[in-house]
């Protein structure tokens, strides 16, 4: 029963968190500040117009706009009637735009905007609003390591953060969870360029190669070609192995792991190697069944030599696997735990650590960010628990409470539809009295 209620509140809480900080996700996803961007939060006042509140709990830019986005660097995009514009942190109009659709890079140093007259997309510097890439493109996507991907119809090019061209706008693109791949066909070969996070760009020229996603989950990009013996060979960026049809083909990929089949003299042996995408083996087992859940947990059954079966759980994001008994859950902090039947004891995947929650009489567990930060409720009153202590109790009338994605804040909504924000340590940052009904 308890397990079920956690799942339900997870979903609800996720919705709340998303509403508060999810509308223009590209600019509010940051590892440093999930609620305040450049010290401000775009917020809707009492169900009407939008403005900005500061982390001091004040409305610093009046709620006079029809639409707003979160700040990226020094600028945000707002809509006033039919006019769209870029404003600075004092609320001054800096430039008119064709729409308030903006996106920004992870570091919030570059913003893509639609220029007012042409309606085309370009990139500006988030510090001084100067053009870094002229508005001549149909779409812009910010890649890893500061790269800008700019597209004209189905042709894509790559530019660095200062607008210098790395690849001309003549490539096809596959953006994958493991790498961003840009390729084009020449007379005989395929030229493939890999942009992998944390590594220098790499290039491969292979006759007859095709780029595609591996079957499975998580959009893992690979390329394949037929070798001189007529076998299909698959290769992955950052992985020196060749996965050959009839020898060691990739069965499926899940986020950061993959199952590789083993063949002996042309027949599958039934053993599969669970590998990280770079080819490192995690474990080799006679895996038989695979169930993949949306919280990036893969459950596998494996046959032992004596005929018994054993359950495995794989954290496909963290690329860790272990044998477990019991069901695994992924908490808000992205760690994976095996939960006990009563929902109170959590054991890490490798079995090394465990945590037991102490819940008093009539206390319900509402939302878990981590094993030390969670929300409980008793008789309709929500409490934020952090590092083993109750750090804040929310007022009566609060309906939903949840940690933000990064666990730095807790957002709450009351029965009047107003939001409040607390830091994870329980300090209130924004109160229900500010009449915030939605956030950018």
């Amino acid at each position: 029963m308890k397990r079920k209620s956690i799942i339900i509140t997870f979903a609800l809480a996720l919705c709340v968190a998303a509403a508060l900080v999810g509308v223009l996700a590209a600019c509010s996803n940051t590892e440093t500040d999930s609620v305040f961007s450049s010290g401000m939060l775009g917020a809707q006042k009492d169900g009407g117009l939008w403005g900005y509140v500061s982390s001091d709990g004040e409305w610093v830019i009046d709620a006079k706009y029809d639409e707003v986005t979160q700040f990226a660097g020094n600028y945000a995009a707002v809509t006033l009637g039919s006019k769209h514009m870029l404003i600075d942190s004092d609320g001054n109009e800096v430039m008119e735009l064709a729409s308030s659709d903006i996106s920004c890079n992870k570091e919030k140093t570059r913003i893509s905007v639609n220029e007012k007259y042409t309606g085309m997309t370009g990139v500006i510097n988030a510090e001084n609003a100067e053009w870094v890439l002229q508005p001549a493109y149909d779409n812009i996507v910010f890649g890893e390591s500061g790269y800008i991907y700019a597209g004209m119809s189905s042709a894509v090019g790559v530019f660095d953060a200062d607008g210098a061209q790395i690849l001309p706008v003549e490539y096809n693109a596959y953006l994958g969870s493991n790498a961003d791949v840009f390729y084009k066909y020449t007379e005989e070969d395929t030229e493939i360029n890999f942009f992998t996070p944390g590594a220098a760009p790499d290039k491969v020229v292979q006759e007859g190669a095709e780029v595609s996603y591996l079957s499975g989950s998580g959009e893992v990009v690979c390329y394949s070609y037929t070798d001189t013996e007529g076998n299909i060979v698959q290769k992955l960026p950052g992985n020196a192995n060749s996965y050959v049809e009839g020898e060691n083909p990739i069965y499926m990929a899940y986020d950061n792991v993959m199952l590789v089949e083993e063949y002996s003299e042309g027949t599958a042996t039934g053993t599969m190697d669970l590998q990280k995408l770079d080819g490192t083996s995690i474990t080799r087992q006679a895996f038989t069944g695979a169930t993949y859940k949306s919280d990036h947990i893969l459950s596998l059954s494996a046959n032992n030599v004596d005929g018994s079966t054993i359950d495995w759980v794989v954290d496909t994001l963290g690329a860790q696997a272990d044998t477990v008994s019991g069901s695994a859950v992924r908490l808000g902090d992205n760690t994976v735990w095996v939960m006990s039947e009563d929902g109170k004891t959590f054991t890490s995947l490798d079995g090394a650590s465990s945590k037991e929650l102490t819940l008093g009489e009539g206390v319900k567990l509402e939302f878990m960010f981590s094993t030390t930060a969670y929300i409980t409720s008793k008789a309709g009153v929500f409490t934020i628990v952090n590092n083993g202590a109750e750090v804040a109790a929310l007022p009566l009338g609060t309906l939903y409470v949840a940690f933000t994605e990064d666990g730095a804040y807790v957002s709450a909504m009351n029965n009047r539809g107003y939001y409040a924000v607390y830091k994870a340590d329980g300090t209130q940052v924004l109160g229900f009295d500010l009449q915030i009904t939605d956030a950018a």
Binding site: A98, E115, Y117, T118, G119, M120, P135, A136, M152, S153, S154, A155, V169, E170, E187
Partner: protein, 477 residues
């Protein structure tokens, strides 16, 4: 001494600033090609038209609903129901009129709220007599003016030459009297007359190029023969004093075909019509005529000599390895490079701008790989087809969309969907990044980026920022 030399320059600079107010206005703008009169019509973000110089600075504010380009001193611009003739400073030198169409120093205008038109000479303010209707014929440049009279219409043709509407030629005026009246043009021919089976009338067939006229009496039927929307030829039925019926089939270049009893037209190729003529004489075989609006391109009795249109784009014939393509622009003959034992297979022939066609074909040798060719054919003044091989463009993912008068190519990148201009050898002349490109003549092109347009000059790039919704509209009369 040195001081004396320096001072005048400083004074000049100060004068310049004082007179124009802004230092940048001293920048010399373009004054050639499309900027010959210094300004071009531009449309602002609110949809209003005005004029700007080549730097994009507004010279005549955007207050009009339409504005034509300047031809010499004058342009026409309208606001609401009123149209004006303006000069390059924006001064309204004539008007308000109900409508204005400029022909250099003359204009055909109508007064506000009044019916009827007249020719207005801008320099003198002189007005011609009033007429009821007119129609501008761009090729050859002429105007047909009609005045209603009792029992019919007085129609006349006036040519437009030297920037003025010339007085009518005595041959060019017809009184079309009768119950069913016709006046229509096709190619360089015009037919005016009336038909009435009970009371046969008169008909005049006028050649606008040569100003000659052929008159018929006893006309019982005039049939304009249309292809798509407009007449491409005519059949005139008349009977002589003895009651013998005669049908004349008239083609756009003035060819008369007599002794006809039936004509049928096929129109499967743009701008080219195939006519099958059956003669009164049973011993005479049917005649086939293939023509555009200027000339008969091919004629013969054996229709099988004419190959069916390539993908609906043009008819062609072959003679000893030379292929002749019959198009809206004329007949183009091309002999593909001969390779022993190879056959040539054409895949398409498309119109590619003023007087040019793009032809794709495959050369299939007895042995070895098939090679694919894309060539551009353009007629020069002598009527010969100039050929340029653009097969290499396909490798660069470029398609040729239009061939300009200067033999430059407006191309489209098939991957990015963007347009630009290259010269005949494929070197880029206008960057292939724009969402649209239009030739404006010479080195000037109108380039479009999303919702805004600018003017691009070869060698200089974009002359003005993208702040106008449209520049240099196509003239529509």
């Amino acid at each position: 001494m040195k001081k004396k030399i320096l001072l005048p320059a400083a004074v000049l600079l100060l004068l310049c600033i004082a007179l124009t107010g802004v230092l940048t206005a001293c920048n010399k703008g373009e004054n050639t090609g499309v900027f010959a009169s210094g300004v071009i019509p531009v449309q602002d973000e609110y949809g209003y038209w005005g004029y700007a110089d080549s730097n994009g600075e507004i010279v005549i504010p955007c207050e009009y609903n339409y504005a034509t380009a300047f031809n010499g001193e004058y342009a026409a611009a309208g606001r609401g129901s009123a149209s004006y003739v303006i000069d390059s400073s924006g001064k309204q030198v004539a008007g308000p009129f109900g409508s204005v169409v400029l022909f250099g120093n003359d204009a055909i205008v109508s007064d506000l709220g009044a019916d009827g038109y007249y020719i207005y000479t801008l320099s003198s303010g002189e007005r011609s007599e009033i007429f009821d209707r007119y129609e501008y014929l761009p090729e050859p440049e002429a105007v047909r003016i009609e005045t209603d009279a009792s029992g019919g219409i007085v129609a006349e043709y006036r040519s437009v030459e030297g920037g003025a509407v010339q007085p009518a030629d005595e041959n060019a005026s017809f009184f079309v009297q009768g119950s069913t009246q016709y006046i229509f043009e096709f190619g360089s021919m015009a037919v005016a007359g009336a038909t009435n089976y009970a009371e046969p009338g008169e008909c005049s067939v006028y050649n606008l190029e040569t100003s000659t006229v052929a008159n018929y009496a006893g006309v019982t039927d005039i049939t304009p023969m249309p292809s798509a929307d407009a007449a491409v030829c005519a059949a005139v039925t008349s009977s002589d004093a003895e009651g013998n019926t005669r049908v004349d089939f008239i083609l756009p270049d003035g060819t008369f075909i007599n002794g006809v009893y039936d004509v049928s037209l096929t129109d499967s190729v743009p701008g080219v019509t195939l006519a099958r003529v059956a003669y009164n004489d049973a011993e005479k075989a049917d005649g086939y005529f293939l023509f555009n609006d200027k000339a008969v391109l091919w004629q013969g009795e054996d229709i099988s000599a004419l190959n069916a249109p390539l993908l609906g784009s043009c008819y062609y014939t072959e003679e000893e390895g030379a292929f002749t393509f019959y198009t809206e622009y004329g007949a183009f003959t091309h002999t593909p490079e001969q390779i022993d034992g190879a056959t040539v297979s054409f895949s398409s022939c498309t119109l590619a701008g003023e007087g040019a066609i793009a032809v794709s074909y495959a050369v299939i040798p007895a042995e070895g790989d098939i090679s694919y060719r894309n060539v551009l054919l353009r007629l020069n003044e002598q009527g010969f087809a100039e050929v340029s091989d653009v097969s290499a463009f396909a490798e660069k993912k470029l398609s040729v969309v239009y061939v300009t008068e200067e033999w430059n190519l407006i191309v489209r990148n098939n991957l990015s969907g963007r347009y630009g201009v290259t010269d005949i050898s494929g070197d880029t002349v206008v960057d292939i990044v724009y969402t649209g490109v239009r030739p404006l003549g010479g080195d000037f092109y109108a380039v479009k980026m999303g919702n805004a347009e600018s003017v691009y000059k070869v060698g200089s790039g974009e002359l003005m920022p993208f702040i106008f919704t449209a520049v240099c509209p196509e003239e529509a009369l």
